[in-house]
Symmetry: C2
Amino acid sequence: RSGGGSSLPHELRIEPDKILKPSSEELIDSGTSYLRDDWCKAYTLRQRIEEPGCISRIITNRLCYGQCNSFYIPKQSNDYNQAFQSCSFCKPQKVAYITVTLRCPGQDPPIKTKRVKRIKKCRCMAIDVS
Amino acid sequence: RSGGGSSLPHELRIEPDKILKPSSEELIDSGTSYLRDDWCKAYTLRQRIEEPGCISRIITNRLCYGQCNSFYIPKQSNDYNQAFQSCSFCKPQKVAYITVTLRCPGQDPPIKTKRVKRIKKCRCMAIDVS
């Protein structure tokens, strides 16, 4: 999803503190097409894998960083203190586990293995905020 | 906090899938000055307050909408499957409770009151994602 925001409805394209139609809850509720595009990217980083007595190794991994949509909208219902709320988190969408072997000279055993979670892909994903 | 991103460190300003220094975890951990500015705004909306047998009233309230920072970074530690993670949620920072009086002609009693939470201010706020 790239930047833009051309799909924003008139109600949300306006500046803060302008009046929204009472139907704005349903506008947002009915789908994400009315929200501005958010973003969440994978950045490669080097990660040092180490163990006492062993020669450390550097592997490549990824971090996730982004700015995802979230909102909090008072409900048009009997309970006016309830809200329709949603929050997305830029986190790994796809991971793989790799085994890293470290050489440990003079140790018994002379090698050690570590299981490392490697991030493959990131994405804004809804989390529970109720 | 307005847009921009001029405070981004070289390590995070780069395009996705370029190599980050192993110290990038600490860069983000040490404060938000290395993150791009996020945003969270209050939009005024009209909210209909109604009760069976009463004349409904429209009040002004606010909704919160924005795009807040979140990230997920593999830990440089013994447990390589742990992560340093953070997620912010655009939600009410300040609320006030108001009492709305509805006229209910021919009813007993002829008025009813509803307590309504009114959003005053919104802000990106960290939520627990552990």
